[in-house]
């Protein structure tokens, strides 16, 4: 039965991969751009899922990290830096800032923590807007160049899409591997019962900081891709709205489920596009769909799928990591 369950998981995964690989030949440039956006946002959501879904630490500052990453890349590449150093710098500096922001997480809980991070996001946004000498203020930074890989430019839409997709694959693999390491185990312990974890020698303080920092780092990575994707950076996209949107991606997808963010990002990035047939009402349609989703599958889409599958099968070994089971952990 775990077979059948695993089969479904792997089947769906394989289908998704194939789709993503051939997508550029099915869509017009607009569709390709949207898919690239999806890939970039998914990376940020995976980061948040680490912090929230696995380590159980809520953060409303993810947009700030995407922003920091974007501005680092935008600022440096427009001043002649090659892309890759800025890519590393973006990830690393966000990791560092995330680590610092993690400290409040050690003192406060739940909505207080949500709030400290929310405040941080607002402050960062104002810095982006007000410090014109650094960020270009409300004028933003124009003509962010797209990188080239081994001398091969990925400036054109389709190559750049594959560029983003490759990064998504990379990040997913790394995260998957991380979550199967003792760290992943410790994160889950942290989420489910910090006090017991502490009594088993799990240094919850350190793991909390790590969870925050890793989440932030991935936010930064996604930012360093967002800048060359849009090629123009100004403060507006990095306001609180995006943080809430990323939270939405994680929860709607199924927080704590490895593939949750992927589906969540589909909902947040693609759904509004699909509802556009409703003309002026598309945002309302989107809002209603989100509300219905939450009412009918509060544990997110993967939680829902997981329940359906468990209903059709008995509890099954959680060793070999099929998506469905990974989800279950």
């Amino acid at each position: 039965m775990s077979r059948h369950r695993g089969a479904i998981g792997w089947g769906a995964l394989a289908a998704a991969c194939v789709f993503l690989l051939v997508a550029p030949f099915l869509f017009r440039p607009y569709g390709v751009f949207i898919l690239a956006t999806w890939a970039v946002m998914t990376i940020a959501a995976i980061g948040l899922n680490l912090t929230l879904g696995y380590a159980g630490q809520i953060s409303l500052a993810q947009a700030a990290f995407v922003g920091i990453g974007s501005y680092i890349t935008a600022y440096l590449t427009t001043r002649g830096w090659p892309f890759w150093p800025t890519y590393v710098l973006g990830g690393v500096s966000c990791f560092a800032v995330g680590w610092l922001l993690g400290y409040p997480a050690l003192r406060v809980q739940h909505h207080y923590l949500a709030f400290v991070t929310l405040a941080f996001n607002t402050v960062i946004y104002l810095v982006f807007r007000n410090e014109e000498w650094l960020t270009g203020g409300i004028y933003g930074i124009t003509n962010v160049p797209r990188p080239s890989v081994l001398g091969f430019s990925v400036a054109k839409p389709i190559p750049f899409y594959y560029f983003c997709l490759a990064h998504l694959a990379l990040v997913s693999a790394a995260t998957w591997w991380l979550l199967r390491s003792p760290w992943g185990r410790a994160f889950i312990a942290l989420r489910e019962n910090p006090i017991r974890a502490l009594s088993l020698g799990v240094d919850t303080r350190r793991y909390t900081l790590i969870a925050f920092a890793l989440g932030a780092g991935l936010g930064g990575i996604s930012g360093t891709l967002y800048a060359p994707l849009v090629q123009f950076i100004d403060p507006t996209p990095f306001a609180l709205g995006l943080s809430l949107n990323l939270l939405l991606m994680v929860v709607v997808g199924g927080s704590g489920y490895f593939f949750g963010p992927f589906l969540g990002a589909v909902v947040a990035v693609l759904l509004p596009e699909w509802t556009r047939f409703a003309q002026n009402y598309y945002l309302m349609g989107y809002a209603v769909l989100v509300m219905l989703l939450m009412v009918f599958c509060p544990s997110g889409l993967f939680g829902f799928a997981d329940r359906l599958l468990s209903a059709s099968t008995t509890r099954s070994p959680a060793e070999d990591g099929t998506p469905a089971q990974e989800a279950a952990r």
Binding site: R28, P29, Y30, F33, I34, T37, R129, N130, G137, I138, Y139, G140, T142, N143, Y226, L229, V230, Q231, F232, I233, D234, T236, P237, E273, R276, Q279, N280, Y281, Y282, L283
Partner: protein, 378 residues
């Protein structure tokens, strides 16, 4: 209510348009329908809609009906880029919007590559300096408006010091930076420089600052409802004017919202639905009838933009984007030639626009034009 009817109507119209395919020319509105610039964007869009409906009612352009599609940028560059791409995938003949200068910048390159003329609402100074041969303004940039204002402050008001309150978004900041330059050039000292948030409601603190500066002139540069709130608070705290502004401060909307508090404000009106021109007044009436609210200058921008395209295309006698763009450069359209243009308008070869503008003052709840400033070209 009527908005609901309109919305349904629009939807229906769309279906019909789909059904009665045949010879059509595609126009696209890509701009802010939701997000922080929804008001300006909505006005601009409704202006475009009004013009398109009128033209279609009269049989379209070169016997082809206009099929208008709307794309909402949510006032977010990322989305704007995606939506503009979507619009371009539909190969429109001309694009109208965005209004948010950031969104104009993020889409400019694509437009250049696609060689599609676009009529923007953005007023940020640098937009026309980025060398996009397909970009055309629908109202002039702040670098044209502000010198006129600076002159007015120096010559008419004889002010030595000025207190400045502005809204911290691309519109307010852009104008503020321009004005600062112009004032400096005329050595008028800015003794207070107060930044406010768009959507801000409590201006007590900001007015206290303005008061403390006690300058010869108070310059108010924000969107209509914020202008109104600022004026109310200013009167409440007994802040002495004179209050000077540009377009928004003197718009009918601001007056309506501010009530008596708006009386006595004066300044420059670039493009205004309140301009003392019969054609404009007539447009305002039609617009209000159609959409049940008073248009601001963005309504005029969208409207006249569409008519400019109509005029040039009919002059060319064919739908040719390149030719359209080429002809627009250095072109002047008078209301005699094309009534829909409302006010005589010229474009230079950067896509910058030139129109007459006005000096006005609010006298017991009415905007009174005190002086008409000629086009710079003349």
């Amino acid at each position: 209510m009527t908005r609901l009817k309109f919305a349904l109507g629009a939807a229906a119209a769309l279906l019909l348009a789909g059904a009665a395919a045949g010879a059509e020319v595609k126009f696209a509105y890509v701009g802010e329908i939701s997000g922080s610039l929804a008001v300006s964007g909505g006005n601009f869009r409704d202006g475009v809609i009004l013009a398109v409906e009128e033209i279609n009612a009269k049989g379209g352009i070169l016997k082809q009906k206009i099929a208008l599609t709307q794309y909402d940028t949510q006032t977010n560059p990322g989305v704007a880029r995606a939506q503009m791409q979507k619009a371009l995938d539909g190969e429109p003949y001309a694009v109208f919007g965005p209004i948010f200068s950031g969104n104009v910048k993020v889409t400019m390159q694509m437009m250049q590559q696609a060689e599609v003329p676009h009529f923007i609402g953005g007023e940020a100074a640098e937009l026309v300096t980025l060398g996009d041969p397909y970009l055309f303004r629908t109202s002039f940039g702040q670098q044209i408006g502000m010198p006129k204002i600076a002159n007015y402050i120096r010559d008419e008001l004889k002010a030595k010091t000025l207190a400045l309150i502005w809204v911290n978004n691309d519109f307010g900041k852009g104008g503020r930076d321009k004005l600062m330059k112009e004032l400096a050039a005329r050595n008028i000292k800015v003794v207070a420089d107060v930044s406010t948030e768009s959507g801000q409601v409590d201006f007590a603190a900001d007015v206290v600052k303005l008061k403390a500066a006690n300058a010869d002139v108070v310059f108010v540069y924000s969107n209509e409802e914020e202008c109104a709130r600022i004026m109310r608070e200013a009167r409440k705290q007994g802040l002495k004017g004179p209050f000077v502004g540009d377009t928004t401060l003197l718009s009918q909307k601001t007056i309506e919202l501010a009530g008596d508090a708006a009386n006595g404000v004066q300044g420059h009106v670039g493009l205004s639905a309140d301009a003392p021109i019969p054609a404009v007044a007539d447009f305002k009436a039609r617009f209000q009838k159609r959409f049940n609210y008073i248009p601001d200058h963005n309504g005029l921008k969208g409207y006249s933009g569409v008519y400019a395209v109509k005029y040039v295309t009919e002059k060319l006698g064919k739908f040719d984007r390149k030719a359209l763009a080429k002809m627009m450069h250095g072109l002047t359209i008078t209301p005699k030639e094309e009534p829909g243009i409302l006010i005589e308008t010229s474009w230079d070869n950067t896509g910058e626009i030139d129109r007459i503008s006005f000096l006005a003052e609010v006298i017991n709840g009415q905007q009174k034009i005190t002086k008409t400033l000629p086009k710079l070209g003349k």
